[in-house]
């Protein structure tokens, strides 16, 4: 290495270092360059179409199970029973958001557009069971029992009508879905087994806490412990 190259080396090192240090100094003294968002106090604006937690509007949900079929990771589980009016009645609708990958495929296929992404993104929990969202607060067995009772009532009514010899119209079979439920429980539970079930139910979800009501993390925890 000649002396010239040697000196050049030194000069280049000094010059490039100085160049770099000028840039870092500019950032160092310019407070406008600070881009940190002080997260819990400040939040960024969530754009429209943000894919946050899923939410199902169960009033419009038709229990068609499209979301369940399309979900690549099987994070949605629903149970439904055929109601007295031949429509499907949801017995339970759970989404395991710990498993969900927020891909949005289920939202795209939902025919009544009842399944939506919300802008929620914060949920910390101690147990995995808490990460399962239950959209129906009522116990699935109760719903099934109630629907079974309604179906039975409707069938009985239809039979009565038929027996009476009158023109059996479909109107007679129509029972308001939210009928009063003060009938004997024993009879209802006996009927439950006969109710046609549909829908899928991934095993892990059911074992975790399919029976847990919405606002009772304790039950969910128990489910977790069992696993």
């Amino acid at each position: 290495m000649g002396l010239k190259a040697y000196m050049n080396d030194i000069v280049e090192a000094v010059v490039t270092t100085a160049k770099g240090m000028r840039i870092t100094a500019r950032y160092g003294v310019d407070p406008r360059e600070e881009v940190t968002l002080q997260y819990p106090e400040e939040r960024w604006e969530i754009p429209e179409g943000y894919r946050g937690f899923l939410h199902n509007d169960i009033k419009t949900c038709t229990a068609c199970t499209m979301c369940v079929k399309t979900c690549p990771v099987d994070c949605i589980s629903l149970e439904s029973v055929r109601g007295a009016d031949k429509r499907m009645v949801l017995a339970s609708y759970d989404i395991n958001i710990g498993r969900c990958m927020y891909c949005g495929l289920c939202v795209e296929v939902c025919p009544p557009k009842s399944l939506k992404h919300t802008s929620g993104y914060e949920m910390a929990s101690v147990t995995r069971g808490e990460l399962i969202l239950h959209f129906i607060a009522e116990d699935a067995a109760e719903i099934k029992a109630r629907v079974a009772r309604q179906v039975a009532e409707a069938a009985a009514k239809a039979a009565e009508v038929a027996k009476a010899g009158a023109q059996a119209g479909p109107e007679a079979a129509e029972v308001p879905p939210s009928g009063t439920a003060e009938a004997a429980g024993a009879q209802a539970s006996a009927k439950t087994a006969e109710v046609p079930l549909s829908g899928t139910k991934p095993s892990d979800v059911s074992s975790e806490s399919a029976k847990a009501p919405v606002v009772e993390p304790k039950a969910a925890k128990e489910g977790e412990n069992k696993e």
Binding site: M21, I23, T24, Y27, G28, E34
Partner: protein
């Protein structure tokens, strides 16, 4: 220290009956405690400032949660380090593993003894001040090497070996770069070196502007000293992205804390040495601090000294957050092919200058031109 003890005994009649050695000892302990408190505070605050500077440079904010604007972060860090479990690897050499952090810490802390904080503020004005500093800061390498060896971890061992090679190599340019200041002052005592830079508006008396060679000396010293204290771009013994964390990878809790503190201690020692040897030390610009009443003179000079030293520390941090890291062979090449020859040339230049111009610097010559 004895002289101070005598004057103290004379000033305070209460101490008249106490033997002199006891007063001296007591004084030593007090001074040591003061310096320790200062060192720890500096090291704590230094770590906070380092992170704040890093935040500013990196377009973010830095710690801002503990205390107002994150001011108490260093206390939280300290408490955390003290409270953390002190792990010792199962196959470590337990004695050496425990000993290593103390070597590192003592090495950096003992150097504070000869730091000339002010006109009269120096724990021990040794007549071999610079040699003393270089000798005790070398203890750090023993600590680092022990840590690397005793951890029984290959990464730590590599870090320790790197540190040993690096620090030993860079002792030479560091020493050679400091000698010009010694030559000008004609003394190894740091106080003498600082005093030799007084006068001429305070600024132009600095060794930095004495002659072109001392000017380069300063930068050579600064570069070499960065390497000697394992600062980026020469932080190879730690080299987070290569050696995971180097020699201190197995350390936790307060033992890690001691390494951490010694790092900042070293940083401060480098800053003080460059301040004392090249930037006029505690000399207050425009007037002579020695002529003021004792208390004011010391306060002024202390303030000036700390301001200069902290500026140097800030510059070190600035460099740290700008530059990438050298490779180990490049580091050695830099020491032996660049810094060592250059410092020798510089030393020769300064010596010739002093010989030819009878010890006068450029500012002094210009001043004498104008009468």
């Amino acid at each position: 220290m004895e002289a101070l003890a005598i004057s103290l005994v004379n000033a305070v009649p209460l101490l008249a009956g106490v033997p002199l050695w006891a007063v001296t000892l007591l004084l030593m302990v007090v001074v040591a405690a003061v310096i320790l408190v200062f060192a720890l505070t500096f090291e704590g605050v230094g770590s906070l400032v380092l992170r704040k500077v890093a935040g500013d440079i990196q377009a973010r904010i830095g710690p801002n949660r503990v205390g107002p604007n994150g001011m108490l972060q260093f206390l939280a860090d300290g408490v955390k380090l003290v409270l953390k479990e002190d792990l010792i690897p199962a196959n470590a050499d337990r004695l050496l593993f425990k000993l290593a952090p103390y070597f590192a810490f003592v090495g950096s802390f003992a150097a504070f003894v000869v730091v000339p904080f002010g006109v009269g503020l120096i724990a021990a004005d040794l007549n071999i001040g610079i040699y003393y500093v270089m000798a005790v800061t070398s203890l750090v390498v023993i600590g680092v090497l022990l840590a690397g060896w005793s951890s029984n971890n290959k990464w730590a061992l590599l870090g320790g070996m790197r540190a040993a090679a690096q620090i030993v190599s860079y002792e030479i340019p560091v020493g050679m770069a400091l000698i010009p200041a010694v030559l000008i002052a004609g003394s190894l005592s740091l106080q003498d070196i600082v005093r030799s830079q007084s006068g001429l508006l305070g600024i132009f008396g600095w060794n930095l502007f004495h002659n072109p060679f001392t000017f380069f000396s300063f930068f050579l010293y600064f570069t070499a000293a960065q390497a000697e204290t394992n600062q980026t771009p020469f932080d190879l013994p730690e080299a987070e992205s290569e050696l995971v964390s180097g020699y201190n990878v197995e350390y936790s809790g307060i033992r890690f804390g001691l390494f951490f503190l010694s790092e900042f201690g070293d940083m401060f020692i480098v800053a003080t040495l460059s301040t004392a040897c090249f930037l006029g030390g505690w000399n207050v610009p425009f007037f002579n601090a020695g002529t003021l009443p004792w208390i004011w003179g010391n306060l002024f000079s202390l303030g000036v000294f700390l301001a200069k030293a902290f500026t140097m520390v800030l510059i070190m941090m600035w460099v740290r957050w700008t530059l990438p890291r050298l490779r180990v062979d490049q580091l050695m090449r830099m020491a032996w092919k660049y810094l060592v020859p250059l410092t020798f040339v510089n030393l020769l230049g300064v010596s010739l200058w002093l010989l030819v111009f009878k010890g006068k610097g450029i500012p002094a010559m210009i001043a004498s031109l104008f009468g």
